[in-house]
């Protein structure tokens, strides 16, 4: 199986993050083509649509369609924001793009911005990404020196300013409107939608927020052609996807593989199960996606439609593998503790509900559970789901619902007996 074809294509090179390496791989050629008018903005959108590129941040919204929401000819400032917050637990893919292939992200942002008529772009990184911030800054300096970013690029009169900024490490800032608030200098709290960022975004101006992996894929799609990209994957899920495999595997790692690769093969890449134990369950798309029992996963393929057919989603590609020693009650408590900590606190169901869920799970773990608590957990999750300002509500509800759906016996056992069914007394 071929790996590292798109976003990670510089990884095998000697100095992967350098300007020269990227240039050698035909880097910035598409951007120059656009600048010189050999390609039209509408061509870019058509190509991205034809390539079947879907948002790689988690929601999987078609990138080409999203870009077409902005009318580039409408007067006034527009913004592009690259979401490099990568805060979903289990996900660790964008940081390597920024570490080892920052120029491709810069070119992708420049192309996307120009396509939508935005002259300013922000690359928003999470607070912990110090190394990534530095490599992006270094690359930006090189690109500016080469005259590819800045004012009046290559004498064409086209402007594109790129600003790398670094957050403070909150999970919720990965939500696109919370990110806009944060860039504006406010608390990162999601905005109510509508209006969507395409109409009322950063500083009230039309804005598009895209994931790092989506943006970094664009130069390759345009360089090698949408057909090439699409054919890498399946009919419904074009291209490649980066999966961050963590948990009970022998060699946890990040792998860029074609869409539609069987999960079995991905597990193989990660060295198989740790100590060759059985695969009990997998969260395939970051902690907010639904958990899938291992035996179902082992027959599934890693694509949008493949994951949908097993009742979950590909999300951000954060594959968390759990072996048969894992206590599902503990695992869920760990996930929910994270969400309780990270709720922004503005809307009621999330602020109050996550704490209630966590207190319930904490008490079950302490042996103070009641058999009714299992249904109560599902009930609380149902009351959060769909009632919040942003998708955080779903991110909390789905793990609870799916963990209990597939492993109810473990929860009931813990409540009844006060200790874990898997681990014993």
């Amino acid at each position: 199986m071929k790996q590292n074809l798109v976003c990670y294509r510089t990884f095998e090179e000697k100095s992967p993050s350098s300007f020269e390496t990227y240039k050698k791989l035909n880097g910035y050629s598409t951007w120059e083509k656009l600048l010189k008018g050999k390609m039209k903005p509408s061509d870019v959108i058509d190509a991205i649509k034809a390539a079947g590129l879907m948002g790689r941040g988690g929601a999987g919204f078609p990138t080409g369609l999203k870009m077409s929401f902005i009318n580039r000819d409408k007067e006034g400032q527009k913004y592009l924001v690259c979401n490099s917050d990568e805060s979903e637990p289990g996900t660790s893919k964008d940081r390597f793009i920024m570490q080892k292939n920052p120029h491709q992200l810069i070119e992708g942002m420049a192309i996307a911005a120009y396509t939508m008529g935005a002259t300013v772009g922000y690359n928003y990184m999470r607070g912990e990404f110090m190394t990534e911030f530095e490599s992006c800054e270094k690359a930006l300096k090189e690109a500016k020196k080469a005259g590819l970013i800045g004012k009046n690029i290559l004498g064409t009169g086209i402007d594109f300013e790129l600003i790398n900024i670094i957050g403070a490490g909150a999970y919720i800032v990965g939500e696109e409107t919370a990110m806009l608030e944060s860039i504006e200098g406010k608390r990162a709290m999601p905005r109510f939608k509508p209006p969507f960022p395409a109409n009322y975004g950063l500083y009230g101006k039309p804005t598009t927020v895209n994931n790092t992996e989506s943006l970094a894929s664009i130069p390759v799609i345009l360089d090698k052609g949408p057909e090439w990209f699409k054919k890498l994957g399946t009919e419904k899920s074009g291209g490649t996807k980066i999966f961050s495999v963590s948990g009970h595997v022998a060699k946890p790692g990040v792998f860029e593989i074609p869409m539609g690769t069987p999960f079995k093969d991905l597990l193989e890449l990660a060295g198989g199960m740790l100590d060759s134990r059985g695969c009990k369950a997998v969260i395939p798309g970051g902690s907010s996606m639904k958990i899938v029992p291992g035996k179902i996963m082992l027959n599934a393929e890693m694509s949008y439609e493949g994951m949908q057919s097993v009742g979950s989603a590909i999300g951000s590609g954060g594959v968390i593998v759990m072996d048969d020693r894992t206590c599902m009650v503990e695992a869920l408590a760990c996930v929910i503790k994270f969400y309780e900590d990270e709720s922004c606190g503005q809307c009621t169901p999330c602020r109050e509900g996550t704490n209630w869920l966590h207190q319930n799970l904490r008490d079950i773990l302490a042996g103070k559970g009641n058999i009714k608590d299992v249904d109560l957990l599902v009930e609380i999750a149902g009351k959060i789901e769909g009632k919040t300002i942003c998708a955080f509500g779903e991110a909390v509800a789905w793990p609870v619902q799916s963990f209990i759906e597939h492993f109810r016996d473990e929860f009931e056992f813990y409540c009844k007996n006060g200790y874990s069914k898997v681990k014993g007394k």
Partner: protein
Amino acid sequence: MSQIEEKITLFIDDQCIKCSPGTTIIEAADSVGIYIPRFCYHEKLSVVASCRMCLVEVEKAPKTLPACATPVANDMHVYTRSQKARQSQKAVMEFLLINHPLDCPICDQGGECELQDIAMGYGEGVSKFTKDKRVVYDENLGPLVETDMTRCIHCTRCVRFGTEIAGIEELGALKRGNHMNIGTYLKKGLKSELSGNVIDICPVGALTSKPYRFHGRSWGFSQHMSIGPHDCVGSNTYIHSINNGNNLDIMRVVPRKNDRVNETWLSDRDRFSYEGIQHKKRLTHPLVKKNGQWKEVSWAHVISYIADCLKQVTDSKGGQKIAALAHPSSTCEEFYLLQKLFRQLGSNNLDFRLKESDFKDQYQINYTTNLSGSFEDIEQSRCITLIGANTRNDQPMLNHRIRKSVLSGADCIRIDSHMSPMNFKTTHDFLTPHDEWSSNLAQLLHAVLDIKKQPVPKSIQIHKPTDDITKLAKTICKHKSGYIFVGKHIMHHDNASSMRAIIQTIAKETNHTITFISEGANAVGGAKMGMLPYLGKTIGLDKEAIFKNTMSILWLHQLDPEHDMTHYTEVKNKLEKSFVISCNAYDSDELRSYADVIIPACTFAEMSGTFINLLGQQQRFHAALPPLGDSKAGWKIIAAIAQTMQLNSFNYPHSQAVVDEFNSNHFEFNYQENTLPETIDNGNGHHSWVSFDHPFNVDGITRHAKALQEVAKEDDWIIRINSHVANYYGIDHDGAATLSFGTQNIQVFVIIDELIANKTIVVGKEIATLLPKNCKIELKSNHDK
């Protein structure tokens, strides 16, 4: 095919509603009386859609949607009580209640709590939540607002109020998730002059009134419509009282919505002054001084005693030897009858302009129709000039309108000798030394005339405008119209007449509306009722002249010269030489030291009356409480004295009869044309002092309101100077200092403040009462090495 006329038709609970595009579901529902529960939504604040209580079912939408943030669309079908909607609403209610302490029995909000009300309809009888509840530490927000933050449901109305209405961000959300709480972070309390409004908008008992705490339960109160008695806007209020068995006790004052006056807001002064109304210092019996001893007497006795005194003096010396001064917050009825009594006795020595001293131009100033149009018109204005006016302190509700105009892009220019931070961004702030007001205003006029290419009069010519002043003039002239508000720093100035003449000329040249901001609740009423010396057949003495001469009898109506007048030492000297009849609500040692007869008068809350605000709107109010002790309404006392003296037509069965009479009996104001002064004072170059009176000291009621005084007293012994002046006196930081004048020394606290003009020393109220007029003062730091 006009797009503007287009209406949207939608159905809420199958009821057909037509409304304009952009309306939200909650507004549409409210307009036809369909109730949707809500917490974070407030009609005057921005929408955040965070409480999620107003979730409703919208056909074709997969999730329930917040009615407060969802705009209506054509043919939309909304269900506010469907199973799906109820499920969402009940879920949110359950979440809100799990961490709420449910301590309604000991919560002041009980009975008027939005959470309590909505929980009745959407909550369960028993909570499923059996875990640990959240506890939040309380913060001291100062003497006015009490906190119980454990009750907070995080609706953030108070936070948005600070940002959007009060204009200072004092409260904010700290921490996140379940630990999120509302606080000031700096822990210095609330400083906004509108801070009390957070009590009203808080849907639960997290923010309640500190003075009112544990005093009563709202369901036992009687509610009386009233008017705020301290400023020229006349905010509409409700007075709440409770029957304690023998009497009615005042409980609190809350705003009464009137979009044309105060909207839904109320200034802290109007809200918390009620504590002064049933104060233990209130006068309850008529008192007469006999041989240096005060004696309680009957009403019959005191009325005939006063009638005799007045008769004796007017018979022997004529009306010129008697005078009456009234507080500008007196009612129209009091003003009208007081001047009627004195004019019938042959005296035109009448005034309410207690702190002013320069009346040379009084025939050129229109005291009656100050501001035409409406308060909403101010919001539409593009240019507002504040000259010597600190509207934020003195007229909070007027300032609220000015703020709105500035937020919508108007220019605001401030010219003053001492300023304090505004709650909006001004275009220019120009500081003029207290002594150089006239010459700076003359320069401004010069610059305006230059821009308008008009000839510059001789007296103005020598005042060549500086660049800064030309900038101001350019901004003012840029606008075809606007407002110029002239405040008390001008009105109280020794040179007020020439300053006003210059400002009137500027207003005329630039086509800006000039408004002299009146003091008290009813200064416009005072003028309209004829309480000015020049409205009779002959011209009487103004306030300044009254004190230059010595009156045989001086009637003081609802005023304490110590606080309501300037240069008290000089004033007291004259008071001691006159027979003083004080019609006052409050007792004090000072009052007993100069008065000869004290008659206990009611406050506005215990009588009916009329106030006329800056716009000329007549607002009538009725008694909310019975008179305290033996006190009586001022107008009744005056009428009784007149009747005892057998004067003509003082027979009024009720106050409405007085209103009917003055409404059909207008005074003629023959104004003279504004003329510029021939010479303009240039200042003497010395440092001069000007007194700063806290806005909570405007009248007897506020001076006796405990919580307000806790705030106000902080300023009493403070001196503010800028760093130049501080340097001059060798003071390099804030701290204790000694102020000396003549042979006296007093201890003060100096604050270095760059919003004070050069050569200007702003002294606190207590200091100012000690200083003789125009005395030279010296300052010395107590921290010399």
